[in-house]
Amino acid sequence: MALIKNPFDHDLTPADAPLVHVQLDGQWVEVPRGLNVIEVARRFGKLIPHYCYHPKLSIAGNCRMCLFEMGTPKLGPDRKPILDAEGRPVLQWMPRPQIACATTAFEGIGIRTNSPLVESCQEGVLEFLLLNHPLDCPICDQAGECKLQEYAFDYGKGRSRFGEEKVKKPKRVDIGPRILLDDERCILCTRCIRFARELAGEDCLGITERGGYNRLSVYPDKRFTSNYSLNTADICPVGALTTKDFRFRMRVWFLKETESICVDCATGCNVTVGSREGIVYRLTPRVNEAVNSHWMCDQGRLGFHPIHSKHRVLEPGRRADGRLFPGEWPLLLRQVAEALRKLDPSSLALLVSARMTNEELFLVRQLRDLLQGDGEIFTEVVPRKGKADGLLRSDDLNPNSRGARILGIGTDGERLPELRKGIEEGKIRALFCLHEDAAGAGVPEALLSGLVLLVWQGILADRSSEIAHWVLPGASFAEKNGTMVNRAGRLQRIQQAIPTPGRAKEDIRILRGLILALGGEDFGQSGPEVFAKMAARIPAFQGLSWVGVGNQGVTLPGEVQ
């Protein structure tokens, strides 16, 4: 079950639903009783085109795109189905087409998805939908992933018989802080209305006017402010709802799609990263019924922007006399390793981020083991607390807290106050910040500047990087491969969409450089390689492979709550 409760799950049936026999375009097949007919067809590789149907929302039945021909078993005088030579029920076909989205499978149902009647219905609906459509395709953000374009191509007439004036409706309607509406493009499927009402719990959209002048509107004096509002842009079959963030930024067909996860909280919603030539343009939710179903929150969706921030650290370097001198990676890594080796292990602390991948954390652990010998190096992560919203968002804003715990990195931040105390008392005199800002974690800058060694590895400049002796620019989530464990104990992959910018380096390579310089083992230089070595050593990951984790992740048996 997904971590979010969907109001409906038309594509899923209870595990104990009995199988029934269904005739699908002449073939008898078996499906669970009660399965939605659109999903019946989908399971056998057939598409019943649809606009208003969404597997997770209530059934509206308004677009009429999914009309199909329905058969029922013919009954004999004894009220029992008449059987043919093969023992199959003889079907009688209803003269009127039915909507697939409001029909579920029962024993002996006949489904025709491509008969002449069905094709005529599809052609008719498409012609109607295009009558008053503005055909803004050249400047429409949806172009390329628009169901109106797709179905017009697949089922349409290819020419228009409409010789009247089109209906004019409002364009660029500002219905919420992150979303814009173009009423002329809207096909009135009401998906967004139902999403706002049934899922986001913010009933604020509705239809006004009459008949052919109908239009989607936001309730008077209301705005669509939900933290889930942008999902409506995804489920809107056309370009009527667009996100202010992505609007006019890139033609979607140029986007490279990379399957990954959102790293904005411990839920780990599955996403598709859309990027082009080293720039990420958008994240969109990717279906995973064990995590986010079809959705993600707006915050997470827009959370990628810092990776292209002007505060991004792009040059590795060494600070001397208050100035940062860029250096070459191999040299710098050797120097850092040397500096670390010289320390008394008990005087070193590692401030590690639970936003790092398991592979990175595993290497941090190897590094620590190499350095600490018989002593103990203080290691802690920085907790990030938010508010759970009862939908997807977790109160833990670190995406990999559970991975850190599994790998024995820190104690969920419980011992963090000891860091400051240790520095104050002079016990800790060196600090290695990994994707965390010590100043932000409660150590005053004055104390930090007194350290004999401050190494910083991260992506965005912060107060620690400003005074660190060594600055090692790492990679954002979009620039690396790795795994994380979400709040439900599911191991999931993040995958590299774009290269690291400037001279920033994937963290696995930075850590490997340090480990090798210290004479440690080579765990490989890619996420999959490190994962394989890690899985061999860490019981929680035993028996798992990078490929096996796949794009949907796997639940770790020992981690289910």
């Binding site: 059934i59 509206a60 039945g61 308004n62 677009c63 009429r64 795109m65 009309l67 003269p95 009127r96 087409p97 909507i99 409001a102 029909t103 005529s120 219905c121 008719g124 609906v125 012609e127 109607f128 939908l129 009558l131 008053n132 018989r161 409409f162 010789g163 009247e164 004036e165 209906v167 096909i187 009135l188 509705g206 239809i207 006017e209 009459r210 008949g211 052919g212 002048y213 109908n214």
Partner: protein, 460 residues
């Protein structure tokens, strides 16, 4: 209100529902109603078992007067009271918005207590304890009359708790629509009553008898239908079934409008007179000595009939076997089945008459304006198609007809009917389909005329 005397016995109205409505001195007051035997049938009904009343209504053969002619007893039988644990609601459909129809308002304005008595009996029979009269928003005075009648009935304990000592509780409320035709479609009505936009529901699964008002079993009946219930209790189902012809029982109120000398409403036993008799004898013939051109027999949504048409109609012979006979338009008996066999429907009983001076393209354009305005716009074919058809027709009337228009109209109407959420899809496409099919030459002539005037203006 046919002038008696001028009519033979056969053509004299048989008023059952409108028996007192137009009698001099008859008023909406409850006292007047009581003086005329009012609420006696309620007393009788309350002494009966509810199931027995349903059985009588089944036996009566009563069919709905709202448009579809669905057997009322069958509808009531859909609720299985042995299984049902939810409240049952009864709704009176008083939205009467079908162009050409003005019968329900006669009842409401002139004899409101008859409706209330019918409703209370129907509610009792269906075990409803709450009922609503959904009245068309424009009928402001009708709503006031009903409110007053309800207050009177409450005061006399025909409504309220423990009605007439029977132990049965019921209240009825008036709910005013906001002026949309679609509120008369029963599931649109229910949505509207729930305070929402009157978007008709998809059926299945939202059949009112199963998932109606607040998703509880709900009976929706027309005003005239509910009035009949009172008379069925009075005379018994079997006696009621003798009025009219088999499967077409009881009386019907025909509302005649358009090009006849005496338009109005006339109540007759089903099948007792023919369409020709209604137009020529009862309504005094076509106005100004004109010739009949076309009739819409059952409200504007019904398919038009063209003068001079011959229909092949199935008829049951006395021995029970069926025979097919040919019938002229004028000979069609005014009932449910024969009019359906002619390819149209008796619908709401609104008979709209057009004489030979009428331009059929203009008539259809007028109708299509109504449907384009009244489509609720929920489903694609009707929302887009109704407006498109109207735009084509408006252009044709305005002199811009094109040769492809008649076929286009047929194609568009064919793309709507049978593919929509509610029967409005048929309601808006049947007139178009039948007008164009039956008067194609007039539609084509418009295109020819437009082309001629264009070449003329080019030549000048």
């Amino acid at each position: 209100m046919a002038e008696s005397g001028a009519l033979t016995d056969r053509l004299r109205e048989h008023r059952l529902i409108l028996r007192y409505a137009d009698e001099p001195g008859y008023s909406q007051d409850i006292d007047c109603y009581l003086r005329h035997g009012g609420y006696e049938q309620l007393r009788k009904a309350l002494s009966m078992d509810p199931a027995a009343i349903v059985a009588e209504v089944k036996a009566s053969g009563l069919r709905g007067r709202g448009g579809a002619g669905f057997p009322t007893g069958t509808k009531w039988g859909f609720i299985d009271h042995t299984k049902n644990r939810k409240p049952v609601y009864l709704l009176c459909n008083a939205d009467e918005s079908e162009p050409g129809t003005f019968k329900d308002r006669q009842i409401i304005y002139k004899d409101p207590h008859q409706l209330l008595e019918g409703m209370i009996i129907a509610s009792y029979a269906n075990r409803a304890h709450l009922a609503y009269i959904y009245i068309r928003g424009e009928m402001v005075r009708g709503a006031q009359i009903l409110e007053r009648a309800l207050a009177e009935a409450r005061a006399k304990n025909f409504l309220g708790t423990n009605i007439l000592g029977s132990g049965y509780d019921l209240d009825i409320f008036v709910f005013r629509g906001a002026g949309a035709y679609i509120c008369g479609e029963e599931t649109g009505l229910i949505e509207s009553l729930e305070g929402k936009r009157a978007y008709p529901r998809i059926k299945p699964p939202y059949f009112p008898a199963a998932l109606g008002l607040y998703l509880c079993p709900t009976i929706v009946n027309n005003v005239e239908t509910l009035c009949n219930v009172k008379h069925i209790v009075e005379m018994g189902g079997a006696a009621f079934a003798k009025i009219g012809t088999p499967n077409n029982t009881g009386t019907r109120i025909w509302c005649v409008s358009g090009d006849v000398r005496r338009p109005g409403y006339y109540e007759y036993d089903c099948g007792a007179i023919t369409l020709g008799e209604l137009l020529y004898d009862v309504c005094g013939g076509i106005r100004d000595g004109n010739r009949l051109k076309a009739v819409i027999p059952g409200g504007s949504s019904a398919k038009v009939l063209r003068a001079g048409e011959i229909y092949r109609v199935q008829r049951k012979k006395p021995d029970g076997s069926a025979e097919e006979i040919e019938m002229r338009l004028e000979d069609l008996p005014l009932d449910f089945d024969t009019i359906a066999a002619s390819g149209s429907m008796s619908g709401s009983g609104g008979v709209i008459v057009m004489d030979h001076t009428r331009d059929m393209v203009e008539c259809l354009s007028n109708l299509s304006a109504f449907y384009a305005h009244e489509s609720c716009g929920q489903c694609t074919p009707c929302r887009e198609g109704a407006l498109w058809m109207h735009k084509i027709l408006r252009r044709m009337v305005g002199g811009g007809a094109r040769p492809e228009d008649p076929q286009l109209l047929l194609d568009v109407s064919g793309q709507i009917a049978g593919r929509t959420i509610c029967a409005f899809g048929e309601a808006c496409s049947w007139p178009v389909e039948s007008f164009v099919a039956k008067f194609r030459e007039e539609f084509e002539a418009k295109a020819t005329a437009a082309q001629e005037s264009e070449s003329l203006s080019r030549a000048c």
